[in-house]
C-alpha cells in the first residue's frame, strides 16, 4: 500500500476568544491529518468548536496557537492575500446558509471562482456543472428566485468548478427538508467521487457522517474520538 498524500495537517490547534474580561477557549490542542481523497466528518454538539475548526482549516481565520498545513502550505505563514489565493486554488466551500451572492445569477455565481483565477469563457463549464446538479434550466435565475435546495446545488456547483483539492462543507443540509437533504447529500458524494476531492464535513447528522470514511468527534473544543468507519460500511458507502 502506497503512502497517501496528506492534504490537511492540523497540529496542536488552539483557538481562544476574549469576551470582555473572560477568555473563551473554543478549541484546545487539536491535531489530526487528512489524506488525499479521504472523507472526514466532524461531529459534535452545538458549541463544541466544529465550525471554528473548519474555519481555521480553510484559512478563514487564524488560530491562537498551533499550525494548519494545507497541501503542504503552512497557512500561518501566509498573509491574507496569499490565503485568498490558496482558497481559490485548492479549496471549495459549501455552507449551511448557501452564501450565494444575491446579485449574481446562478451561472454567474458558479463562474466566480474560475473568473477570479483569470480564466475566461468559463460559462460553458459552469453551465455543465449546473446541468449535472439538475439546474440546467435555472442558469439565469437569481438566488432569491431559487428554492433552498436549488441554492445549495448551485453552491455545490460553485464549490467544484475550480477542481478543489479539498471541499469544506458546513452543515450543508442543515437548512433543508429531508427529501432535499438526501438529494444534496447524494450530489456531494457523487461530485466528490467524480472529482476525487477530499471532503471535510461538519454535521449534526449522524446518518450523513456515517457515509464518510472517518468520524472525528469533538466536544468542548477537544477531539474525543477519531475513528474510521467500519470497512464494510465504508465499502458500502464508496460503492
Amino acid at each position: 500500500m502506497t503512502k497517501e498524500e496528506t492534504v490537511l495537517e492540523v497540529d496542536g490547534l488552539t483557538q481562544t476568544y476574549r469576551s470582555g474580561e473572560r477568555t473563551l477557549t473554543v478549541l484546545q490542542d487539536v491535531s489530526f491529518r487528512v489524506t488525499s481523497g479521504e472523507r472526514l466528518a466532524i461531529v459534535g454538539p452545538s458549541g463544541s468548536g466544529k465550525t471554528t475548526l473548519l474555519g481555521l482549516c480553510a484559512g478563514l481565520d487564524r488560530p491562537s496557537s498551533g499550525r494548519v498545513s494545507l497541501k503542504g502550505i503552512s497557512l500561518g505563514d501566509l498573509n491574507e492575500e496569499e490565503l485568498a489565493r490558496v482558497r481559490n486554488q485548492h479549496v471549495g466551500f459549501v455552507f449551511q446558509t448557501f452564501q450565494l451572492i444575491p446579485t449574481l445569477t446562478a451561472l454567474e455565481n458558479v463562474m466566480v471562482p474560475m473568473e477570479l483565477r483569470g480564466v475566461r469563457n468559463v460559462g460553458k463549464q459552469a453551465a455543465e456543472l449546473l446541468g449535472q446538479a439538475g439546474l440546467g434550466d435555472r442558469l439565469d435565475h437569481y438566488p432569491a428566485q431559487l428554492s433552498g435546495g436549488e441554492q445549495q446545488r448551485t453552491a455545490l456547483a460553485r464549490a467544484f468548478i475550480n477542481q478543489p483539492s479539498i471541499l469544506f462543507a458546513d452543515e450543508p443540509t442543515g437548512n433543508l427538508d429531508a427529501e432535499t437533504s438526501e438529494f444534496i447529500d447524494d450530489l456531494i458524494f457523487e461530485l466528490n467521487k467524480a472529482h476525487g476531492t477530499t471532503l471535510m464535513l461538519v454535521t449534526h447528522d449522524l446518518e450523513l457522517a456515517e457515509r464518510t470514511d472517518r468520524i472525528l468527534k469533538i466536544k468542548g473544543g477537544r477531539i474525543v474520538s477519531d475513528e474510521p468507519m467500519a470497512s464494510g460500511i465504508k465499502s458500502l458507502v464508496r460503492s
Binding site: N88, G118, A144
Partner: protein, 855 residues
C-alpha cells in the same frame, strides 16, 4: 507545495469591472438616487465657475464702457488753473460731469427724495451709452433745455411720468426719459442715491453748489491712441500736487475684477458647502451600502478574491456613481448658469452673455468627482478588512473593529482637500483657514451632539414611555442608526440658513432700533449760515425736538508733525494713510463733547482764544492711528486758504453708529466762528407725515438743503439686504436641496436597515399604526435634535458675526426661526413615512421575499 501565483496581477482587471457591474444590478436605481447627493454641489460649482469666466470675458470686452472714457479725473473742489493746464496738455476729446447729492422735489405729488444729481456735458459717455426709455433721448441733455433723465427705479417709486416736472434746487426740469443703465454702474449702486442726469449748463442755476456742498467735479477724456497708464504714471506728481483722483480703464477693470472675484469666492464657498453636504450623503450611503454588502464581500473572499479586488468592485461602483452625479451636475449647472446673471443682475455693472465654459466644467467636475471619491472611499476602505469568516459567524465578526492607518490618512487627505479648496477660493490663507475651522467646528459639534444623543438615548431611555415611542427613540442608538448622518446633514443646513436669517434680522433691527426712543430720525444738512435762523424757526414751528445743531467747516491737512502733506505722501518713509492725508475734513467746534464721544487720552479744551496758535484740538482715535500721531503732536490745517496750526490736545472715541454728525477733528469754541461754514441739524419728528411736511417746507424755501429721514435709510438698508439675501438664499437653496436629497437617501437606506425589524414586529402582531408611530417617533427625534442643534450653532455663529463683523447686538427672531425648524422636522417625518409606506402596507413574507439582497 508552493502558494499559487496571483491570478490577476492588477486590481482593476476585467473581472473586477465585470463584478462591479453585475453586483450593482439590484442597487442601481437606489445608487442613482444617492448619486444625486453631489449633483447640486457640482451644479453650483459649474454655474459659478462659468459665470466667472463669462464675467471676465464681459469685463474684457466691455472694458472701455466700464468707465465710459479712457481716462477720468476727479476732484472734490473746482479744478484749479494748474489742473486745467494739465488737462490741456493731456489733450484729446473732453467732457465734464459735475455731481452732488441733493433733494429732488416732485411737484405733482409733493414728494421729496435725496438723489444724486449729475450734470453732464456733451460727449459723456464716450464709450457705451446712457440707456434710456424711450431710447436715445440722452442726446436731448445737450439741447440747452432744462430736461432731466431720471432713474427708472425712482420713476416707478414716485409714479413719475414722462414730460412731468421735477425740481432740483431752484430749477424745474422736464423729465424726458427714464434712465435704465449707466456704463459701468450696477443697479444696486442706485438704491441709496438714485441718479438724475441734467445738462451741465444748468448746474450753476440750481444754486446747489454752496459752502460745504459735497461736489464731485469730473473730467472725462477720450484718448484712443494714448497709452493712458503711461500718461498717468508720467503725470503722477502733478496729479498728486493738485489732489486729483484718477480712474483709468485698467484700474476700473482691476477693481471690478477684484469685486467680482470676491462675489465669485463667496458664491463658490456657498456652492462648496452644498458639495460637502453631498459628500456626507455619499459617505453615509456607501457606509450603509457596504454594511449590507459585507456578506457578499465575505463570500468573495472565501472564494479567493483578494481584499484589493473586493475594494475595487465597490470603488468602481462609487466611481461610476460619482461620474454620473458629476455629469448630471454639469448639465444642471449649465442650466443654472443661465439663471445666475438674472439673480445677480442688480450687482453686475455689465451685461453678461451666456456661453458654455469647458474649463469651468472640467474644473468643477474634477472637484466634484474628487470629493465624491474621497468621501466614498472613507466607508469603502473597511471592506478590505471584511473577514471571510463572516460566512460562518456574522454576529461575531461584524463587531470586530480594527484601526486602519489608511482611514486616518484618508481623513487627513479630505481635511487637506477642504482646507486647500477654502484657501484657494478665498485667496487668503487666514480667511480660508477660518472658513475651514468654522466648518470643522460645526461638523465636530454636530457629530459630538449626534454621539451624545445616541449615548443619552441608550442610557436614559425612558422605561415608562409607551412601547412605540421607546422603540422610535431607541432607533437612535441601534446598530446602523441614521443619527450621525441626519444630524450633520439637517443640522448643517439649519445652521447655515438660520444664521443667514438671524444676521439679516439683526442688521435690520439694528437699523430700526436707531430710530427708537429719543434718537433723531431726521437729518438736515448743507444749511448755509444765512439760512440757519430761518430753518431753526421752521423747526420750532413744527415743535421739532432739535437734538444737534452743529456748524461745519471744510478743511484739509497741510502738515503733520512738522512735515508737509506733500512730503509725507511722496516721501520714502511715508507716514499716515493716503486717505487720511488727502481727504477733505469737515470739522466742527463746540465747548462740550457730545453724546457718543468719550475722551481716551489728553485733555479736552472747550474754549480757546482764536488769537494764538497752536489751537488745542481733539482727534478721533482711529484717525490718530492712521496719521501715526499722538497727543502733543502738531497738525496744520488749511482752512479754505488760511493755514491754522493746531496741537493734538486729546483723543476721542466716537460712536459712529449714532444717527448724528460725528467729527474726526473737533475744535474748541472761539476759533472757527468766522470761517466759511454750513450747518447740520438733527431732530426727532413724531410722525412720517410731519417729517414730510417739514422737509417740503424747508426745501421749498432753501432748495440747496438736503434732508434724510430714517424711514428712507431703513428702506435703503432693507432693499439692499433683500437683494443680497435673495442671492444668498438662491445659493443656500443648493445646500437645502442637497440636504433634502441626502435626507431622502438616508431615510430610504434606513428603511432597509429597519426592514427586518419591521417585518418581525409585523409578524409578532404589530399594527400598521404602531409601525408608523415608531417611524414617526424616530424621524421626529432625529429632525428635532438636528434642527435644534443647528439652531444653537446658528445662534452662536450669528452672535459671532454680529459681534465681531457687524459690531452690533444680536437680535435673533427666534419665533419665526422656530417655525422653519418645525417645517424641517415635519418634512423629515413626511419623507420618512413616504419612503416606508411599502413596508407597512404589504404582507411581511412578501417583503422578506423581495428584499434579501435588494439593496
Amino acid at each position: 507545495m508552493t502558494i499559487p501565483p496571483p491570478a490577476a496581477k492588477r486590481i482593476w482587471n476585467a473581472w473586477v469591472w465585470r463584478m462591479a457591474w453585475r453586483e450593482s444590478r439590484s442597487s442601481r436605481k437606489r445608487l442613482l438616487l444617492f448619486t444625486s447627493s453631489i449633483v447640486l454641489g457640482v451644479a453650483a460649482l459649474v454655474a459659478i465657475s462659468s459665470l466667472r469666466e463669462n464675467l471676465s470675458r464681459a469685463i474684457d470686452q466691455q472694458a472701455r464702457t466700464l468707465l465710459g472714457a479712457d481716462l477720468t479725473i476727479r476732484s472734490s473742489s473746482p479744478f484749479s488753473n494748474g489742473a486745467e493746464a494739465l488737462f490741456t496738455e493731456i489733450g484729446g476729446e473732453k467732457s465734464r460731469v459735475t455731481s452732488l447729492s441733493s433733494m429732488a422735489f416732485f411737484p405733482r405729488n409733493g414728494k421729496l427724495r435725496l438723489v444724486q444729481v449729475r450734470a453732464a456735458a456733451r460727449g459723456y459717455p464716450f464709450y457705451g451709452e446712457l440707456e434710456t426709455q424711450p431710447e436715445g433721448v440722452a442726446i436731448q441733455l445737450q439741447s440747452g433745455q432744462p430736461v432731466a433723465l431720471v432713474d427708472a427705479g425712482l420713476m416707478r417709486q414716485f409714479g413719475l411720468n414722462l414730460e412731468e416736472e421735477i425740481r432740483i434746487g431752484e430749477v424745474a426740469f422736464r423729465v424726458i426719459g427714464s434712465l435704465l443703465s449707466v456704463p459701468g454702474e450696477s443697479l444696486a449702486f442706485t438704491i441709496a442715491a438714485p441718479r438724475v442726469f441734467i445738462p451741465l449748463g444748468f448746474m450753476e442755476q440750481t444754486g446747489l453748489i454752496q459752502v460745504g456742498s459735497r461736489v464731485s467735479y469730473q473730467i472725462h477724456f477720450k484718448l484712443p491712441e494714448t497709452d493712458v497708464e503711461q500718461l498717468v504714471s508720467d503725470e503722477e506728481a502733478r496729479l498728486e500736487e493738485e489732489r486729483l483722483r484718477v480712474d483709468t480703464v485698467e484700474r476700473r477693470k482691476r477693481s471690478l475684477g477684484r469685486a467680482m472675484a470676491n462675489l465669485y469666492r463667496f458664491l463658490n464657498l456657498v456652492g462648496f458647502i452644498a458639495l460637502l453636504l453631498g459628500g456626507i450623503g455619499i459617505a453615509s450611503t456607501i457606509h450603509l451600502y457596504i454594511q449590507q454588502k459585507l456578506p457578499t464581500a465575505a463570500v468573495l473572499r472565501c472564494l479567493g478574491a483578494t481584499s484589493k479586488q473586493v475594494l475595487g468592485i465597490y470603488a468602481i461602483q462609487a466611481l461610476a456613481m460619482g461620474s454620473i452625479g458629476t455629469l448630471t451636475g454639469c448639465l444642471i449647472g449649465l442650466g443654472v448658469q443661465m439663471l445666475l446673471p438674472q439673480v445677480l443682475a442688480d450687482f453686475l455693472p455689465l451685461e453678461v452673455e451666456f456661453a458654455v465654459s469647458l474649463s469651468a466644467i472640467a474644473k468643477a467636475s474634477l472637484i466634484g468627482l474628487g470629493f465624491a471619491l474621497l468621501f466614498a472611499l472613507l466607508p469603502l476602505l473597511p471592506i478590505r478588512k471584511a473577514s471571510p469568516l463572516l460566512v460562518l459567524r456574522a454576529a461575531f465578526e461584524s463587531v470586530r473593529q480594527q484601526s486602519d492607518p489608511w482611514q486616518w490618512a484618508l481623513k487627513a487627505l479630505i481635511a487637506a482637500a477642504i482646507l486647500g479648496f477654502a484657501i484657494t477660493q478665498t485667496s487668503r490663507l487666514w480667511f480660508g483657514v477660518w472658513f475651514f475651522v468654522g466648518l470643522a467646528t460645526a461638523f465636530g459639534l454636530l457629530c459630538g451632539v449626534a454621539h451624545g444623543i445616541s449615548l443619552a438615548a441608550r442610557r436614559f431611555l425612558p422605561r415608562g414611555w409607551p412601547f412605540v415611542w421607546r422603540q422610535g427613540l431607541a432607533n437612535l442608538y441601534r446598530p446602523n442608526n441614521q443619527t450621525l448622518v441626519l444630524m450633520t446633514a439637517l443640522g448643517l443646513g439649519t445652521f447655515l440658513l438660520t444664521t443667514l436669517y438671524f444676521v439679516q434680522g439683526t442688521l435690520l433691527s439694528h437699523a430700526a432700533l436707531t430710530g427708537l426712543e429719543d434718537n433723531p430720525n431726521l437729518v438736515l444738512f448743507d444749511i448755509q449760515s444765512d439760512q440757519i435762523e430761518k430753518v431753526r424757526a421752521i423747526l420750532a414751528r413744527y415743535e421739532i425736538d432739535t437734538q444737534m445743531d452743529v456748524p461745519m467747516v471744510s478743511m484739509r491737512l497741510a502738515s503733520v508733525a512738522g512735515q508737509s502733506v506733500d512730503e509725507l505722501r511722496s516721501g520714502p518713509g511715508r507716514r499716515g494713510s493716503r486717505w487720511a492725508l488727502s481727504r477733505e475734513y469737515r470739522s466742527s467746534y463746540r465747548e462740550q463733547l457730545g453724546e457718543g464721544e468719550k475722551l481716551v487720552s489728553g485733555e479736552w479744551t472747550g474754549r480757546f482764544s482764536g488769537l494764538t496758535e497752536p489751537v488745542p484740538i481733539s482727534l478721533e482715535e482711529g484717525l490718530a492711528r492712521d496719521l501715526n500721531v499722538q497727543v502733543g503732536d502738531s497738525l496744520v490745517f488749511d482752512i479754505q486758504g488760511i493755514e491754522m496750526e493746531c496741537r493734538i490736545g486729546s483723543l476721542r472715541q466716537v460712536d459712529w453708529e449714532r444717527v448724528q454728525p460725528n467729527f474726526l477733528a473737533l475744535f474748541p469754541a472761539g476759533v472757527l466762528e468766522d470761517a466759511p461754514q454750513f450747518h447740520v441739524i438733527t431732530g426727532r419728528t413724531e410722525s412720517a407725515s410731519v417729517s414730510a411736511d417739514l422737509q417740503l417746507e424747508v426745501i421749498e424755501q432753501f432748495p440747496n438743503i438736503s434732508a434724510v429721514d430714517l424711514s428712507l435709510v431703513l428702506s435703503i438698508v432693507e432693499t439692499i439686504l433683500d437683494k443680497v439675501s435673495f442671492v444668498i438664499q438662491f445659493m443656500a437653496l443648493f445646500s437645502i436641496l442637497t440636504g433634502l436629497v441626502v435626507l431622502v437617501g438616508a431615510v430610504l437606506t434606513s428603511r432597509y436597515q429597519r426592514m427586518r425589524e419591521t417585518v418581525l414586529l409585523r409578524t409578532l402582531g404589530a399594527s400598521s399604526r404602531q409601525i408608523m408611530t415608531i417611524l414617526v417617533a424616530e424621524y421626529f427625534f432625529l429632525g428635532m435634535f438636528a434642527t435644534l442643534t443647528g439652531l444653537c450653532l446658528a445662534l452662536a455663529g450669528s452672535w459671532a458675526l454680529a459681534h465681531f463683523v457687524f459690531e452690533s447686538e444680536l437680535n435673533p427672531q427666534i419665533l419665526p426661526a422656530s417655525g422653519s425648524i418645525l417645517l424641517i422636522v415635519g418634512l423629515t417625518i413626511l419623507i420618512g413615512i413616504f419612503n416606508s409606506r411599502g413596508t407597512v402596507r404589504r404582507p411581511p413574507l412578501e417583503v422578506l421575499r423581495d428584499e434579501p439582497g435588494a439593496f
